[in-house]
Amino acid sequence: MRGLTKEYVLQRFLMYLLTIWLGSTLIFVIPRLAPGDPVSEMVGRLSLDAGYIENADKLIESWKARFGLDAPIHVQYFRYWGNVFRLNFGYSLSHFPTEAWTMVSDALPWSLGLLTVATVLSFSIGVTIGSLMGWRRTPRWLQLILPSSLTFTAIPYFMFGIMLIYLVAFELDWLPATGAYSRRVDPGWNLPFIKNVLTHAILPVVSIVLTSMGGWALGMRGLMISVNNEDYFLLAQVKGLSPSRIFFRYGVRNAILPALTALALGLGGLISGSILVEFIFAYPGTGYTLYQAIISQDYTVTQAIANLIILVTATSVFLLDLLYPFIDPRITYKRNMR
């Protein structure tokens, strides 16, 4: 019947756990599969930078002991999981007394804010454009204009970002190029600060929205065209319903369901892309922090952030999954059928 069934929630929750397990395990396993180990690699790089490090072997041993890398691999794995569960990743190596988790949680709101705004905008604009493009009754002038909104679809976010920075920030000097806010303003809930944050967010958001909305539009167009051919769509026309009712109630309402699934599946890609956007715009979110952690070989922060991003992605997908049965009454039924 309608709404959430226990079975469905349980199924989705297991899926959620599986995703987190898979992602975190990848992060744990792959470095260990590689020739050499993280510490030797790190020390190796340090000695490359410094030219020569005294007692490199001893340093490696002591670091390994500190990170517990001398234990057998399954012990390491269980310890790692304990840490992931308690969100305890130890101290940051590059900003010593700070805990890795603190650095990460400072960065998280920036990323979440930026990405939520950008995703909501690009999804809703894209879906609107796509629905109109896939509907036979859309006015002709609109159908001629709409495809032009897909112009930037093929360009990756970050390249578009670089060009935006060059044109809008440096050449025209309209908007700030990098950062989340200027040093001049006092962080806090005051108007100048909020205004400052918003102006800094414009370029990153625009570069994500303009380059990703076309994908949604194209997908939605295809879905809408299929719905156009459905029998219930035809019956709605024959019933003499008003075009707007047919469009929303029979068209968009049905076509959007697979698009929402695609949104859940596409979140991973979106979040991946945002790392580069944050890098290009030096935006102090998780992506940028991850980049800096990697550059400064901050092992603990890297792990913390990677796990956090996987956690956030999986959680958003899980939430979307929980919402889904309310939007599609067939869902529990369909799962049984498949």
């Binding site: 309608r2 899926m15 995703t19 898979l22 990848l26 992060i27 792959i30 470095p31 590689a34 993280p38 690699e41 036979r136 002709r140 679809t153 093929a154 360009i155 990756p156 390249m159 670089i162 060009m163 920075i165 060059y166 440096f170 190029a177 295809g222 065209i225 299929s226 051919n229 459905e230 029998d231 219930y232 035809l234 019956l235 024959v238 019933k239 003499g240 319903l241 109630r249 309402r253 049905n254 599946l265 991973g268 890609g269 979040i271 991946s272 892309g273 790392i275 890098f279 990697i294 070989q297 890297t302 792990q303 952030i305 990677a306 991003i309 992605t313 997908v317 599609d328 009454p329 067939r330």
Partner: protein, 659 residues
């Protein structure tokens, strides 16, 4: 099957073989070919570049620092695209970097596709536990943000060359193809020609490669080109972050060096812009290929855009010529179809689905419209309802209810007539109810679109209607998927009589149901008709069922009406050879007779032959049949037929012509 698909079935056949060698091939898609050309040019630049330019200049200290391109002030001819802060020549760097970026993309996507095809086939073919595991794994793998994991990996593993990077990227490229191959196999497995191959005992691998692969090819290709650009994007992302191979030149690495050296602020445009431009061109190329392939794989998209173009060219409204003379106008007709021509404008020619169809439905009468599938009866129904699907169009004719020609009505006027005067009981009751809204809402919106009544009254009326068709009241708040096929069909009947229409079109109302349910639905239809005195057009191919339900019967063959007669004389004394064939083929329990199926296909609907359209299958064909088309003429009382056999003068007619 939806109505759109049924109409499309009249024009398309499944892909057999690779289909690449014909000029008529769907692969000649403009977007796809343009994309191939763009990527090809970029590849040529990378491959042929070293023959014309000294690529050693790509390394540190090969030239002066920060020189702009030659067309700018201070540019040097020996460094046509300028140099960067380490004195490396930009042109040489780009020549070396381009093919390596492409190589990573191809390699990673092809490996991912290979893994995906194996896993997807196993999941789709073997099914069961395997399917479950593979599906769950790929579903969760696809939600993991790949670049995050990649970045972490790259920070530990020094990627020395592009092959290593491609291998790591491939680990993230398999879920997409896996899901695609699995769902394609599940869909294709249900197609009749694949089932046939199964039944004939062909081995699974042969079915996979001979029957399925050609049909999956456009999808796979679209997934591959999409995968390549995603892989290039991933690789470039790592390079831009400085985490790719640092000793091999790559486009992302150039961008990384430019941004870390503040090329943006310093105005060294020629440093960061060219790699971005090349990458953008590559992405645009693959993007065009992907959407081109999408159109090849999903012809509806192509049809959709081509009809739009056609409509733009021809002006908004279809040009309809009105038949001047109102020939068969009858006094007591509820619905008149007059000289109706419907053509499908396919890329391979105009398919004539209805060719001058003339008939009328009298008040309170059920007219049966019969014929084999593909004969155009569904097209006629859709034309009466003014919902002919693109690429089809009513090119000529009138459809009149109460002296109002529906073909020439404007959208708003038509909306008023619809459902109030002309309702539909659809064929696919399965798919005719909006799956996401409860029954109440679907019935209410039909009423509310035409009458201004309050919520309470609507509710009461819906309950009354459900009662009329024998459905329990609780159906009102249920979703369609919770109803059985027969219940859905009865709900459709309830909906059709909601506004007490003049005419109901019933499009094979019982064909998808099992026999017992068929009875119930047919009974419901008859009751409703008796009570409301509504006129009906009953479309179907089941002659036995028609015999019990209809008052008059109209037989259609290849877009033409060949016989219209009261049901009694049509069955006792069928005139047209095709009608005779149809009636002979009704199975009977009392006498076992040989199944009499005439071989021979319907002619190509794009080029109807001169003369009678049934000539290739007719046993009585004569000279005149091949030369002149017989008209639908009343030969007996109220019994019309289009056949030369009943024209006593036929011999003198050709002699006349020959003379």
């Amino acid at each position: 099957m939806t109505v759109g698909q049924r109409a499309a079935d009249e024009t398309t056949t499944p892909a057999r073989g690779w289909g690449l060698n014909t000029w008529d091939s769907p692969w000649l898609n403009f977007k796809f070919l343009l994309g191939v050309a763009i990527v090809g040019l970029i590849l040529l630049f990378g491959l042929l570049g070293p023959l014309f330019w000294d690529t050693d200049l790509a390394y540190t200290g090969a030239g002066p620092l920060n020189k702009p391109p030659v067309w700018q002030e201070g540019g040097l001819p020996e460094h046509p695209l300028g140099t960067e802060s380490n004195g490396r020549d930009m042109l040489a760097q780009l020549i070396l970097a381009t093919p390596s970026s492409l190589k990573v993309g191809f390699l990673a996507a092809i490996i991912g596709m290979g893994i995906g095809m194996v896993l997807g086939s196993v999941a789709g073919y073997v099914g069961g536990w395997w399917d479950h595991v593979i599906r769950t794994l790929s579903d969760s793998a696809v939600t993991i943000p790949a670049l995050v994991v990649l970045v972490v990996i790259a920070s530990y593993v020094q990627m020395t060359d592009t092959t290593a990077m491609a291998l790591i990227l491939a680990a993230f490229a398999w879920p997409g193809p896996t899901r695609l191959v699995r769902s394609q196999i599940l869909t294709l497995r249900e197609r009749s020609y694949v089932r046939m191959a199964h039944l004939s005992g062909a081995p699974a691998l042969e079915i996979m490669f001979v029957e399925m692969l050609p049909n999956m090819l456009p999808w796979l290709a679209a997934s591959l080109t999409g995968g390549i650009s995603v892989a290039i994007l991933g690789a470039t992302g790592l390079e831009v972050l400085g985490l790719g191979p640092t000793r091999v030149p790559s486009l992302g690495l150039i961008i990384n060096q430019a941004t870390t050296n503040a090329a943006l602020v310093r105005g060294l445009v020629w440093w960061w812009l060219p790699p971005i431009i090349i990458l953008m061109v590559i992405f645009v190329g693959f993007f065009l290929m992907t959407i081109g392939l999408d159109e090849i794989a999903n012809p509806r998209i192509r049809q959709f855009s081509s009809t739009r173009r056609e409509r733009t060219a021809a002006g908004e409204l279809p040009a309809v010529e009105h038949a001047g003379l109102r020939g068969g106008e009858e006094e007591d007709a509820a619905l008149e179809v007059d000289d109706l021509h419907v053509h499908y404008f396919t890329p391979r020619g105009e398919v004539i689905a209805a060719n001058g169809v003339n008939f009328s439905v009298r008040k309170g009468e059920i007219l049966g419209l019969v014929g084999e599938s593909g004969c155009g009866k569904t097209t006629v129904a859709m034309a009466i309802l003014q919902v002919v699907q693109a690429p089809g169009r009513i090119v000529q004719g009138e459809v009149r209810i109460e002296d109002q020609d529906l073909v020439s009505l404007s959208g708003k006027e038509l909306r008023e007539v619809r459902w109030r005067d002309l309702a539909l009981v659809p064929q696919g009751a399965m798919n005719s109810l909006n799956p996401v809204t409860p029954i109440r809402e679907q019935m209410a919106d039909a009423i509310l679109a035409h009458e201004n009544v309050g919520r309470l009254e609507v509710e009461a009326r819906i309950l009354g209607l459900l009662n009329d068709v024998g459905l329990p009241e609780r159906v009102i708040e249920i979703y369609p998927h919770e109803l059985s096929g027969g219940m859905k069909q009865r709900d459709c009947i309830a909906m059709a009589i909601a506004l007490n229409p003049q005419v109901i079109i019933a499009d094979e109302p019982t064909s998808a149901l099992d026999v017992v349910v068929q009875r119930v639905v047919a009974q419901t239809l008859l009751e409703v008709k008796e009570r409301l005195g509504v006129s009906m057009v009953m479309i179907g191919h089941d002659m036995g069922l028609q015999a019990q339900l209809v008052d008059r019967i109209a037989v259609m063959y290849a877009g033409n009406l060949v016989e219209v007669a009261p049901v009694g004389s049509a069955f006792s004394e069928p005139l047209h050879p095709y009608t005779q064939l149809l009636i002979e083929s009704i199975p009977s329990i009392k006498e076992r007779k040989p199944l009499n199926v005439t071989e021979g296909l319907t002619h190509d609907l794009r080029n109807p032959p001169p003369g009678c359209i049934f000539q290739f299958r007719c046993q009585h064909v004569e000279q005149i049949c091949r030369e002149r088309r017989p008209e639908l003429v009343e030969r007996e009382d109220d019994h019309l037929v289009a056949c030369w056999l009943y024209e006593p003068e036929r011999h003198s007619l050709i002699e006349l012509e020959e003379a």
